[in-house]
């Protein structure tokens, strides 16, 4: 033992976010790579040769609203306008449901504010028959696939029209025909299931692929790591998505990440091509999703994608972010607002205008209000039109066993 070790006590490192309530956030030290500066490799690239893509941020839209670089140019104006409308619909839907929760029409709600581009754009990169294993903040997948808003609302209200018969908390949708797997509340459990689903597709010599979803915080779960092991071992046709929205309820992303590297770089130890993308850039999200989907479809195996974004709202209606982060942090966030950025791009291109945007906003609100009226006619959680209690006992098994028949009788339904 050398002398200089004497009297030195160990200290535990506890990661802390840079700013807490009362502080003034300053992101000027955060390096945001220029839009268009990252080259697009061929999809059959060796993971070793694109290690840098896990440490940068792939971006297409520059600050003037232009699409630049070779990740751009994949979508026509009509498709971009449709994408903008999907994001606007999701935002407007969220606002109405958030309000409905405050009015007592349901128990709980989770909005997407600031993260709309990710699920809306990703959904357009998939084919019919592919399967997403989403978390609770990817409802844009449903909206981009034209899933009925009324059905989403009925689920949220747990009313007599609820496709899930009142069994699931609000926003835990399930829509098999729209490639949307039933959402679990246990975080990251579905990451490995997505890999299994993709393996099954490969075992069956099918053409379908799967997409796994997880947030920054839940990457710490064992399921995430098991998924990476299985995905790399069997080269499963799956896109492994990590939505890094900086906050896991009140815990900043550095607690899951350990303040070194990136979430994308987690893929390197497994030899999985790993990319980091601007999650608030609809064009960049779509381009990277398309790249990863193409790889999976071509039997080239999994891709890990980290979407860098910011959760501008609370974790849920039960959360108040003002208690753990500065209120102005979301405005200071350097990657901007996804809806505004796509809107500006389309205006710059001459394909959109303030007037058309306002008009679209009004149209969308009208569509949502009409849907809400229809959904509310089937009941809300605080009313008496909720699914019958006999639904408690059904679907536990394909066929109801004797002990459940007895219990249903005792329940009086």
């Amino acid at each position: 033992m050398s002398d200089n070790c004497e009297n030195k006590h160990l200290e535990l490192h506890i990661p802390e976010p840079e700013w807490r309530p009362g502080d003034t956030p300053d992101f000027s030290n955060v390096v945001i790579p220029k839009a268009g500066s990252v080259l697009r490799p061929p999809v059959d690239v060796d993971a070793q040769d694109i290690r840098d893509l896990a440490y940068t941020i792939i971006r297409v839209l520059d600050k003037n609203g232009n699409a630049v670089g070779d990740w751009g140019g994949l979508l026509g104006d009509e498709e971009l306008i449709a994408g903008l409308r999907h994001m606007m619909t999701l935002r407007s839907y969220d606002a109405r449901m958030q309000l409905a929760q405050r009015q007592g029409k349901t128990s709980f709600y989770m909005q997407h504010l600031g993260e709309e581009a990710i699920s809306c754009a990703f959904g357009k990169a998939l084919n019919k028959g592919d399967m997403n294993f989403p978390t609770y903040r990817q409802a844009g997948l449903l909206i981009a696939d034209d899933y009925p808003l009324v059905d989403m609302m009925c689920q949220t209200f747990s009313n007599t029209g609820d496709p899930l018969k009142g069994r699931q908390m609000p926003v835990f949708y399930s829509a098999r025909d729209h490639g949307f797997f039933s959402i679990s509340g246990n975080l990251a459990t579905q990451y490995i299931q997505a890999v299994g689903w993709a393996m099954a597709s490969a075992i069956s010599h099918d053409t379908k692929i799967a997409a796994a979803w997880v947030g920054d915080g839940a990457t710490a779960e064992n399921d995430f790591h098991a998924a990476l092991v299985f995905a790399s071992t069997y080269r499963a046709p799956v896109v492994l998505n990590v939505v890094n929205n900086q906050w896991a309820i009140s815990t900043f992303q550095g607690v899951a990440l350990g303040e070194s590297g990136t979430f994308a770089a987690r893929g390197h130890g497994f030899g999985i091509p790993s990319l980091r993308v601007d999650g608030n850039d609809y064009l960049a999200v779509y381009a990277v999703a398309k790249w990863a989907v193409e790889r999976a479809r071509a039997n080239l195996g999994p891709t890990l994608v980290e979407y860098v974004t910011y959760r501008a709202g609370g974790h849920s209606t039960s959360d108040d972010p003002a208690a753990y982060r500065p209120k102005s942090e979301s405005e200071q966030w350097p990657l901007g607002d996804p809806v505004l950025r796509l809107k500006n791009h389309l205006i710059t291109k001459g394909a959109w205008s303030e007037e058309r945007h306002e008009q679209a906003e009004a149209e969308i609100l009208e569509i949502i209000m009409t849907a809400q009226k229809q959904a509310e006619s089937l009941g809300t959680l605080n009313g008496d039109k909720i699914p019958s209690a006999h639904n408690i006992f059904e679907d536990v098994y394909a066929r109801m066993p004797a002990h459940l028949r007895r219990q249903r009788q005792q329940c009086g339904v």
């Binding site: 399930s174 490995i192 299994g196 399921d223 299985f230 098994y397 002990h403």
Partner: protein, 337 residues
């Protein structure tokens, strides 16, 4: 009919199921080329290819989680957890995911999979190769739990489990793999190859889940047993001369309450026996059901003979294992007027 060990019967079940339905796939640790540490998957990879029978990384969570995704896709995975004692990392996947998928998606997604795992003691496996965690599964709504006691049942029940549209936990009493061990650890066990219950139909057949079997008829007392304890009970009755009735439950969930109640109503006495720890074990559920449904027929309180409420020890295995001596004492006490 062919004479089979329980291992061969289990392998034959998977062989027949894989031949009948190409959606049936088998995977787990060491199950592929090697054929499993207990040889239950021997020959399957060679016959059906590594696309349908393969080795996995050592991740029980990964094995079960991937199987759930495959089942949701439409395959029928029949997976192996090397020892039931290793199941715990996968418990969340089993409880929160596989068991509830049909329910929470209102039938949009289902999970037709079988999770096979060797269970129980008697092999000097210490605390990590001897546990009987069946109550951790029977407590979960949405799971079915099966424990066979002989080769013929093992095969018929396993094929039925694979056919079943819901997740089934299939616990294989490892001390029974080669013969009907009755708890007398110093005596040689008659191999299944020379036992009537080792005579197994070579082809495809099923035994329905949820039905118990009267292993031995009797009128003095009802013994509720499953797995290894069926044979311990049989030896105990011979040694005590008590004309007891042994019910081999075969499926713990769903449970064949009718067969249990009919027997207890006939005998008026009931002893429950299992290897697992006493407190909150499956015997507690059985005792509660018997008193609830047969109260006016009971001459004596329902007794439980089980493993002690301790971890499973190594050197002291035979002081822990509920063998014929302990069961015999309980039977004699139950028979007192």
């Amino acid at each position: 009919m062919v004479q089979m060990t329980m291992i061969e019967a289990i392998a034959s079940a998977m062989d027949n199921a894989m031949a009948a339905d190409e959606k049936v796939i088998v995977f787990g640790e060491d199950v592929g080329f090697f054929g499993g540490v207990f040889r239950c998957t021997a020959g399957l990879q060679k016959k059906y290819g590594s696309n349908r029978c393969f080795d996995t990384p050592i991740s029980e969570l990964g094995i079960v989680g991937a199987a759930i995704g495959m089942a949701a896709y439409g395959l029928k995975p029949c997976i192996e957890i090397q020892f039931a004692d290793y199941m715990y990392p996968a418990y969340d996947q089993l409880v929160s995911e596989s068991a509830r998928l049909r329910y929470r998606s209102a039938g949009q997604f289902t999970c037709p999979m079988v999770v096979r795992m060797p269970t129980g003691g008697g092999i000097f496996g210490g605390q990590t190769h001897s546990q009987s965690p069946e109550a951790l599964f029977t407590h979960v709504a949405g799971l079915k739990t099966v424990v066979p006691s002989n080769p013929r049942d093992a095969k018929g029940l396993l094929i039925a489990a694979i056919e079943d549209p819901d997740p089934v936990i299939f616990l294989e009493p490892k001390r029974l793999y080669n013969g009907p061990f009755d708890g007398h650890h110093t005596r040689a066990v008659t191999p299944w190859k020379k036992h009537a219950l080792g005579e197994v139909d070579d082809g495809y057949f099923t035994l329905p889940l949820g039905r118990a079997k009267i292993h031995k008829e009797g009128s003095a007392v009802t013994i509720l047993a499953y797995g290894t304890m069926v044979h311990v009970a049989e030896a105990t009755l011979v040694e005590t001369g008590i004309e007891g009735e042994i019910i081999d439950l075969r499926t713990l969930s769903p449970l064949d309450l009718d067969t249990i109640a009919q027997s207890v109503e006939k005998t008026g006495r009931c002893v429950v026996v299992h290897e697992a720890t006493l407190t909150c074990g499956f015997g507690a559920e059985l005792a509660a059901l018997v008193q609830e449904h047969c109260f006016y027929h009971l001459e004596k309180p329902v007794m439980r003979v089980t493993g002690w409420d301790t971890p499973y020890p190594h050197a002291q295995e035979w002081d822990y294992f509920p063998g014929p001596k302990r069961l015999g004492r309980a039977l004699i006490e139950t028979m007192e007027v």
